[in-house]
Amino acid sequence: MGSFHKTSDTRTAISGTKVKNNLTIVSSGIPSLDYVIGTGLPTGSIFVVEEDVLANYSRILIKYFLAEGVACKHDLLVASADENPQDIARELPVPTTVPQNDEINSVATDVDKMKIAWRYEGLTQVESSFGSNTSFGHHFDLSKYINVDEVKACNISYCKLESDDGVSNGFKNNLYYKLLTTIKETVCKEQYNSRNKQNSNVLRISVQSLGSPVWMAKDCEEEEPSRTYGQDLIKFMFCLRTFLRDTNAIAFITIPSHLFDDEHIMNRLLYSVDNAVKIESFAGSSRETNPVYKDYHGLFHITKLSAMYCLVPNVPPSLDLAFKLKRKKFVIEKLHLPPELQESKEREQDDITSVPVNCGGFKKKDIDF
């Protein structure tokens, strides 16, 4: 009868992926992260996490990313110059069937008894946690490690980078060249070509602490370090961008940007990067004891979101985001100020100097439209 038949896309056959705008998307392993950056991480793109000062939380993000790959039987490439990549893969969280809720749910039954003022009854419930009811990706339990045999059963390769005097075409520090050639050789394989319809799989590349002092060492040896500082890193990121485009590979890179001497580097890097977020931990800062932030472990900033294969980039529900690390999971939530319950002579807020930047205090010239 009708002549129009929709051709079914075989790429959906890869486990743990979905197709949006003709582009394969994978989960980062954290449902709330997938939600705030769009639907997930698009293949052929670079995702950058600017590390917190102690790199505690960025390490957890990498583990989630790899664990999701193991759970979906994706191929993995783990690279690091600072520590043994096998150690990272040894501590991956275990997937669970039910979302991990640490809170005691008995409170919920009491809520029904409470009568809400009629004018608020029609309001929708404020949803501060994201992606809790999504079916995309897995839920993980951070308190248990995945079985070593299960990781070994996966197609996982490690790249421990050590500096030597080998070939370093185009780069001063041959770590970059080694990593690039490793990635290039892996990505060139037929199964990672995005146009290949059969036997294709997703390659998850994780690079831990790219741009740490080991990577920058050669830059500082120069006579005029300020002129070339970070040049290798910027070059590496652009080369990686050209390699990954139109492949089924995705790079998840953490960068200790707080260690850079030159703050310009990050802005230059972000041009080559597709999506980027920044973790700002409260540990060791004055915000740790600030009552405004007592429910959270740090702030979560979205620094770049780009639109691949379409014109409209994703707009997250809010830019005021915070994260907390529970016993079993890592969640990103909308930042809420706590209710002021105590009566005190002096209002506590008056003492707080570090209120979030985006909350209130607008002058007319700051309004965009």
Partner: protein, 255 residues
């Protein structure tokens, strides 16, 4: 279907009219300056749409986005880029891939203009008018080309394109910082341009209603008879919103 077709045309015509590419004027240089991490690839897609509808030959030199990106965006805007690449109307040259490949295999950066000139001149032999779009001029700095090399490349490219009748060249330049080489280059290019389009993300964050600010300047009109006695030509500011099928412009305050 009819509705989507007409709306797709309208959605890119705003930008085209703003850049004055719909008028038959002499050859022109358009510089698109990306500020505050804004992505200006929508301008490329609109210009591609315009050229394909007008059947004007076009050469795309790309370092920032892939062919697949423009192809997929194009399908939504109602043109098939692949079909026109096959027919020879559009030539897509991935300059970034070429440079990176050369760098890693031969340890040297290739001469930029040589290969580009070959491609453009071969198109110019077949067509009267050959327009050029280059996205991501700034990526050449990532590869460690010097300001001098890139400036010479842009100068030669502009001379080659504007030497041909009624052709235009669109150069996209990203300004990463206020005081570094990317800013210097974008200012240099703006100095050469007839039309400067600045696209900027909203400084206060992201909005679902507006994608960003857009500022247009016409430095070339300064010597027009109409503007001969104006000291400082006013620039026009707009807000823009991106859609799957194109972009819409608003006057400030009308959203």
């Amino acid at each position: 279907m009819k509705f989507s077709f007409t709306s797709a045309i309208r959605m890119s015509s705003d930008i085209i009219a703003l850049l004055q590419l719909d008028r038959t004027l002499s050859s022109r240089v358009v510089v698109v300056k990306e500020i505050n991490r804004c992505d200006s690839s929508f301008v490329t897609s609109c210009v591609l749409n315009h050229c394909i509808k007008k059947k004007a030959a076009l050469c795309v030199l790309s370092t920032h986005n892939s062919f697949q990106h423009y192809q997929n965006v194009g399908l939504r805007m109602n043109y098939n880029l692949q079909k026109h690449v096959d027919s020879g109307l559009v030539d897509f040259h991935s300059l970034g891939d070429h440079c990176v490949h050369n760098l890693l295999s031969e340890n040297s950066l290739p001469e930029l203009f040589h290969k580009v000139r070959e491609r453009i001149t071969s198109m110019q032999q077949k067509n009267d008018e050959v327009n050029v779009i280059m996205d991501g001029v700034t990526h050449l700095f990532d590869l460690n080309y010097s300001v001098q090399q890139i400036n010479r490349f842009c100068k030669e490219l502009i001379e080659l394109v504007t030497g041909c009748n009624n052709s235009f060249i669109v150069l996209h330049c990203h300004k990463a910082n206020e005081d570094d080489v990317t800013s210097v280059m974008s200012n240099l290019l703006c100095h050469k341009a007839h039309t400067v389009l600045e696209v900027e993300n909203l400084p206060s964050g992201l909005s679902a209603d507006v994608s960003g600010h857009l500022t247009i300047k016409y430095p070339s009109l300064k010597f027009d008879t109409d503007h001969l006695y104006t000291m400082d030509m006013k620039m026009s500011r707009y807000l823009f919103k991106l859609f799957d099928r194109g972009v819409k412009l608003f006057a400030p305050g009308t959203v």
